[in-house]
């Protein structure tokens, strides 16, 4: 049980710190520090450009995708070194948002299933942020039932022809490539007729439409496919084995969303430390303190759970589904925290204009973004199922669709 750096870790930290100190885009540091869930982070600059420039700079100096092999644009670092990097990168790490899916999900899937030549071609520009990737799994009719997808891929000569619709694709509008899960055989049970591909997002027949979210922002897209051609060489894994390919990706998704998810606690604690209530400082109010303490131990519990996972990882243990708790706990917590932060402001808590942005605006953005956290990458209910089944070993839900050909599964509820 040791929180101190080993000498090697200390050397790595010093090197990282010095490089960040010399190279990071300091002019945005304060703004990034203050940003939180649901708020666009830069006022006077295009965050995508700033992010790409920072990623490229890191890649050029060997600080991108630390855990990836060097030949694919990474550094071959240990899990602990990644953590040290994240600690040192601090608020600048918030610029990595647009790369999370590419680096966390698409990259690992390519590494596991693409050919060597493809890996050397596609991975380094993904690592350096020159090319952005997205993930095309979810569909309107799918939701938690990812394997219920309907986008068809039909073989025609050496190509596959894609028709259908995907949804909830983060960053599709600025992505260069995507990994795509399709149905190649609707006559077999649903998990058995899927195939995975990667594709150029600029291919003819790909149309990206932004989804306006409940918050009013548009972080996600719908993507329509009309007779889109994908060469068979861009297939990942065997035909009809797409479900197994996707499992790697999905587990990586849950882990990276879990790790990056905001609890809202630091923001609430800071807020309460400066807020005055009718009877005195909020932080001296016993009710405020009780609520803060309850949030505090959840936030610290998540932080240390993630540290335990990193320690396990660095000993060569595989990260397990235990990591699902991060998103499960943080999702509903950030929603409660936001509501409580508004509550503390009284009637003025409803205000969200720029003149109130420092305070109310932050928590209101959080409030409106939070419902998404409880759904994306697996709903709270799916997360509890994962914990119950894969950690505790309880039986799976009774499956009425398991052995039924996909095209015989009902698609509508009440008549």
């Amino acid at each position: 049980m040791n929180f101190d750096d080993t000498p090697q870790e200390a050397a790595f930290r010093a090197e990282a710190r010095a490089w960040i100190q010399a190279n990071a885009p300091k002019q945005y540091e304060e703004e990034l520090r203050k940003s939180s869930l649901g708020r666009t982070v830069l006022k006077d600059a295009n965050i995508l450009e700033v992010a790409k420039a920072w990623q490229k700079k890191k890649a050029d100096a060997g600080w991108a995708c630390l855990h990836w092999p060097k030949e694919y644009g990474g550094r071959g670092s240990s899990p602990i070194e990644r953590v040290i990097w994240q600690q040192e990168e601090g608020p600048f790490g918030k610029l990595s948002g647009m790369f999370i899916i590419g680096h966390g999900m698409c990259g690992p899937t390519m590494m596991a299933f693409a050919g060597e030549e493809q890996k050397r071609k596609y991975l380094p520009p993904l690592a350096s942020g020159e090319k952005v990737w997205c993930q095309l799994f979810s569909e309107p009719a799918g939701g938690s039932d990812v394997a219920g997808l309907r986008t068809r891929a039909e073989k025609k000569g050496d190509d596959w022809i894609i028709n259908g619709q995907k949804i909830w694709t983060s960053g599709a509008h600025y992505s260069d490539y995507g990994i795509l899960l399709t149905r190649t055989d609707p006559t077999v049970p649903k998990h058995k007729g899927l195939t995975m591909f990667f594709l150029d997002m600029k291919s003819p027949g790909v149309e990206v439409r932004p989804i306006k979210q409940a918050s009013g922002q548009s972080d996600f897209n719908e993507v329509y496919f009309t007779d889109v051609k994908i060469p068979d060489s861009q297939r990942l894994g065997a035909v009809n084995d797409g479900w197994n390919v996707s499992l790697t990706t999905l587990m990586n998704e849950r882990m990276s969303i879990g790790a990056g998810v905001s609890t809202g606690f630091p923001e609430l604690f800071d807020f309460c430390n400066s807020l005055m209530l009718e009877d005195g400082p909020a932080i001296e109010d016993r009710n405020v303190r009780s609520k803060l303490a309850n949030y505090a131990v959840k936030a610290s519990g998540l932080r240390y759970t993630s540290m335990r996972a990193i320690s396990a990882l660095s000993k060569g243990e595989r990260p397990g589904p235990e990591n699902s708790i991060g998103k499960l706990v943080a999702g509903s917590m950030v929603q409660e925290v936001a509501m409580y932060a508004l509550d503390l402001q009284g009637a003025a808590g409803v205000l969200s204009g720029p003149e109130d942005a420092e305070v109310a605006g932050k928590f209101q953005a959080m409030l409106l973004r939070a419902p998404g956290t409880r759904v994306e990458g697996g709903t709270d209910e799916i997360m509890r199922n994962i914990i119950a089944e894969r950690v505790l070993g309880l039986p799976g839900d009774i499956r009425v669709d398991k052995d039924v050909p996909f095209n015989k599964i009902p698609t509508k509820g009440r008549a």
């Binding site: 109130d356 839900d397 669709d401 509820g413």
Partner: protein, 375 residues
């Protein structure tokens, strides 16, 4: 004992529901949500014609003279429809303040206009962050004029008149506060719209610069009147919140019946069933607390302060709970602008604050129970 609304009141509820289903579909709410209008003027006019705006205003002042139980059932339907009109500020706050403390002339001037839809009213109480408190009122009254800033004022940018809480003394007692009636169109008041989480109910900053004002109620009675107005509004708004809770529950239930995942309706999974069952429980507890509040309101019972706080807390919790879990039942779809779930989530979180926060009312409830206990 009969702890229910009468058949006539239920018929009025049905009429309001039918009217609002037709005149206030989600599409109409979205016009205001999207900023195409400050409120739904057509609907406001229609509500006046149906007699809903003046349902609790005596006939001598142009109302239907029906009473507060009738107003409660209308309020419930306004919440269910998420109506984008200044109903709560005009009817629960301004009209109630006039009914409680207005002179005959003041009532004659404004109440008929409220009932007919010609005048929108509001209560200008808050001055920035914080909960209702005499100490927090700094806006000064002197020589028949007011100077200072009120923020947020519900529907303040579209209101024709406001009941304004102002400081008329400096003893540190509640009697430092007096109420005034201000014609917002008469000059001296500048209104600025403020962005807020529920655009279907506007918020504004009102700046008073020697604005002409006439006293409402006796000098020094302001805080005591305000307390009563807030209690009465708390019951009425709680009915809106219960209406919204029920609608959110229905939306979630319907979606769970229709949506298929894993080859079966998602409503056949216990996880989803139990979310909805818990929503039903909180909505039911809130409804029952509201009924008690309605009885206390309609009879002006001495139990009103306690009943109002309980109704407000319970309904606030229920609406927040139902609206957020309605989104959860809808999954990703619930998180789109296109689906209506977020309109109820916004309204739930806005109504949770507009009369003062949950924490404030929790404190009030125990204070009142304690006083009753000691009495």
């Amino acid at each position: 004992m009969n702890f229910d609304f009468s058949d006539e009141q239920k018929q009025m509820r049905d009429a309001a529901r039918k009217f609002l289903a037709e005149k206030c579909p989600p599409k109409a709410v979205r016009e205001v949500l999207d900023g195409k209008a400050a409120y739904d003027k057509q609907l406001w006019k229609g509500l006046a014609e149906m007699g809903f705006l003046g349902v609790a205003i005596p006939e001598q002042f142009g109302g239907a003279g029906a009473g507060h139980l009738e107003l409660c059932v209308i309020a419930e339907e306004m919440g269910r429809a998420n109506a984008p009109v200044p109903f709560s500020s005009t009817v629960y706050l301004a009209a109630e303040a006039l009914l409680l403390a207005g002179s005959d002339a003041q009532k004659q001037k404004w109440l008929p206009k409220i009932a007919s839809g010609e005048a929108i009213g509001t209560l200008a109480l808050f001055e920035g962050k914080g909960n209702p408190s005499p100490k927090a009122i700094k806006l000064q009254a002197s020589g028949g004029t007011l100077s200072g800033v009120k923020k947020p004022v519900p529907d303040g940018a579209i209101a024709d008149f406001a009941v304004v809480a102002a400081r008329t003394g400096s003893t540190g007692r509640d009697s430092d506060i007096s109420l005034f009636l201000v014609d917002l169109k008469a000059g001296g008041v500048e209104a600025k719209s403020l962005t807020n989480i529920d655009p279907t109910r506007g918020q504004a900053e009102l700046t008073f610069k020697n604005a002409k004002a006439e006293p409402l109620g006796a000098a020094g009675d302001g805080w005591s009147i305000l307390t009563q107005v807030l209690d009465r509004a708390a019951v009425l708004l709680a009915f809106e919140q219960v209406g919204g809770s029920d609608r959110a529950l229905e939306m979630g239930r319907d979606y769970a019946l229709d949506r298929i995942a894993f080859g079966r309706p998602i409503g056949s999974f216990q996880a989803v069933k139990h979310i909805l069952a818990d929503m039903y429980v909180s909505a039911t507890l809130a409804r029952s607390n509201c009924y008690y509040g309605a009885w206390a309101l309609s009879t002006n019972a001495s139990e009103l302060p306690e009943a109002a706080a309980a109704a407000r807390i319970s309904a606030t919790q229920a609406f927040q709970h139902c609206s957020k879990n309605n989104i959860q039942v809808h999954g990703g779809m619930g998180f789109t602008w296109e689906f209506d779930c977020h309109m109820y989530y916004r309204r739930a979180n806005a109504t949770a604050l507009t009369l003062g926060s949950l924490s404030y009312w929790e404190d009030q409830l125990i204070d009142r129970m304690r006083k009753k206990n000691a009495a």
